[in-house]
Amino acid sequence: MRSILTALAASTIMSGAAFADGHALSGDMRIISDMSNPAPRAVMEGLVAQFGEMHPGLNIELEIVDRDGWKGQIRNALTSNPPDVINWYAANRMGPYVNAGLFEDVSDIWGDIEGLDAVKGALTIDDKQWGVPYTYYQWGIYYREDIFAELGIEEPATFEEEMANCQVILDSGRKCYAIGTKFLWTAGGWFDYLNMRTNGFDFHMQLARGEVEWTDDRVRETFANWRKLIDMGAFIDDHQNYSWQEALPFMTGGDATAYLIGNFAVASLRDAGLTDEQIDFYQFPTIADVPQGEDAPIDTFHIPSGADNKEAAREFLKFVTTADVQTAINAGDKLGQLPVNAASSVDDDEFLNQGFEMLTTNATGGIAQFFDRDFPAEMAAAGMEGLQEFMVFPDNLDDILGRLEQTRARVYK
């Protein structure tokens, strides 16, 4: 008996040693994650536990910080005593840190992993890659299916149908759209879609890169379309007082029938007691005859350039981009979002399936990262403030566009 145990122990040790030979990860690894909501937090803790089992020689320390707080803390974290792995976002949002040399160039990892080609652009600056994606999610119009059925209206495909629907909804004493613009970014979503549908994805990106003036007639046309909805009274009143969560009760209570938001809102709608029969999702309707672009922001992992254990950090980044891990962490009961790796599979969830379908087959224009990630930080801040003002006082448009043009002239020097 004893000999069997000894043999077993010996073989385990040997296999362990063989395993460690290939990877030989040891020492400490510090991770700071902003996945602070309950479900993402559990995912992150699960990832670390799993990675720790694969590399027993590694001592992993995980620190989870508040998602909104992290936006202010990241600078300090990157400059003084940087950890080995952090969470952040793609596109322009990582620009300042990349340009300041605070993010590690991880182009070498991109050579090793497969299935991420579709999003490579969002993580590329100066032809190098600066992080890896772990999840993304679609945006679209989430609506009350039961109220639509009651009023006898259907998912619209064009803006005319959208407005006709909205008139029916308004006549029934409800508002068409819930929105909370206190923290500004929700208004950015409406602008993204209206602009991408009015002028196309490429024009939207030109605007984001500062190549088009804000006072351009095409931009004015976007606002004119927006104004049609505002003048109808389509949006809930006093939306500048609410956060996006505070505006949700308008939809769950049936006072507003739809919400242009990301897929992360589904969990809150379900928590508020709506069943999947009561909520549904449709792609933002077409306006002009342009290929449809979609917002689908990517969340990412990065290695600070001052990290101590970059070898372990690189292994971790490879680990979270593998198809299996991405399938697992994005499942409906985990993050409830879409995996980025093309080889992974989407969880069988009504909204994830619809979103995945939409992004793979019907986003012919291209995939945007969202207003505050596509536009440079300062332009985004000034822009979203102007968008909020436009939604409350549409008559101020000339003044707002003049100010945004001034900001553009300074930001893109």
Partner: protein, 315 residues
């Protein structure tokens, strides 16, 4: 082998005291002050000068100032002059300064009202103390619910008298006043506490004498009580001015600077430009901080001057 003197030493050498021993009286206070001075220098004085320095640069706050920043001289200040958001912040700061001073007379009024011997007065006093005890964050939250359109207590009460659709925090014309009103609540309580203490120190003999001379009501208050409350008034003035200038938490909680940036003050605007989510203009933020510092310096100089005058008078 020790070379000891053969005869006893009749003249033992004077025990030389150490340098520290000799200067003990002069040095000890500085030793006690040293930690305080050190921290004051490291966290207050030096950063002030660093702000001045940073304000001459275009710098995103990442990396080293000398390497990643560009010297632009007075460029940031020139931009401030034409920056409309800066003007809004400056005006709002002025509104805060003026309206916040209302806390002083209101605090005095409540203190006079509470300065009586009636059964249960301790309970009333503690009720008036209450807003001073709770955190600014809670005050901000409570007031933003109070102001909520349609469902807030304020709009319910206004609807009783036929006024509908008031959205205090959602309108750029009223939002700042709404926040100041919320701030006045704890600030008034603070001034009241100061005056209650001051009233305890009012000389009963002078009151008696004034009463014999026929003074009462407003005259008694103006000519006898208030002059004796001068130290309390001074402190109330100091804390109220400082409180108004550093207003930040209420704005951040109640409106986040909105709607459309209409409730910003200098400190909040500085935070937005230099440190917040989309703030990558450390130099510009530093320039705003310098302006705020100059405004504060004006008051600080006045405070120091009047304290100096007091000291001279006391001698």
């Amino acid at each position: 082998m020790v070379n000891a003197p053969a005869v006893p030493d009749t003249q033992p050498p004077v025990e030389t005291r150490s340098w520290y021993r000799r200067n003990e009286i002069a040095i000890t206070p500085w030793l006690f002050l040293a930690p305080g001075l050190l921290f004051f220098a490291a966290y207050v004085i030096i950063p002030i000068f660093q702000s001045f320095q940073v304000s001459f640069y275009a710098w995103d706050g990442l990396g080293d100032l000398q390497e990643s920043g560009t010297f632009i001289g007075m460029g940031n200040y020139q931009e401030l002059v034409s920056d409309r958001n800066f003007n809004i912040s400056l005006w709002n700061n002025l509104k805060w300064l003026l309206l916040y001073l209302l806390a002083i007379p209101m605090g005095l009024g409540i203190a006079l009202f509470l300065n009586q011997t009636v059964t249960g007065i301790r309970l009333y006093k503690s009720l008036f103390f209450f807003p001073f005890v709770i955190s600014q964050v809670v005050v901000g939250l409570v007031f933003s619910w109070f102001y909520l359109p349609d469902v807030g207590l304020l709009s319910i009460m206004l609807s009783w008298i036929g006024i509908d659709g008031v959205n205090v925090l959602g309108s750029p014309n009223t939002a700042t006043y709404g926040i100041i009103a919320a701030g006045l609540w704890p600030q008034t309580a603070y001034c009241m506490i100061l005056y209650l203490t001051g009233l305890n120190a009012v000389d009963p003999e002078q009151i008696e004498a004034a009463r014999l001379d026929g003074a009462k009501g407003p005259k008694m208050l103006w000519y006898v009580i208030i002059p004796q409350l001068k130290p309390a008034t001074f402190i109330a003035f100091v804390v109220t001015i400082i409180g108004a200038l550093r207003s930040f938490d209420l704005i951040s909680i109640m409106t986040n600077g909105g709607p459309f940036g209409s409730t910003r003050v200098l400190s909040f605007y500085m935070f937005e430009k230099a440190l917040a989510e989309f703030g990558f203009r450390m130099g510009y933020g530093a320039a705003i901080a310098v302006v705020l510092f100059v405004i504060m310096l004006f008051f600080i100089a006045y405070f120091l001057w009047s304290m100096y005058q007091d000291e001279k008078g006391a001698r």
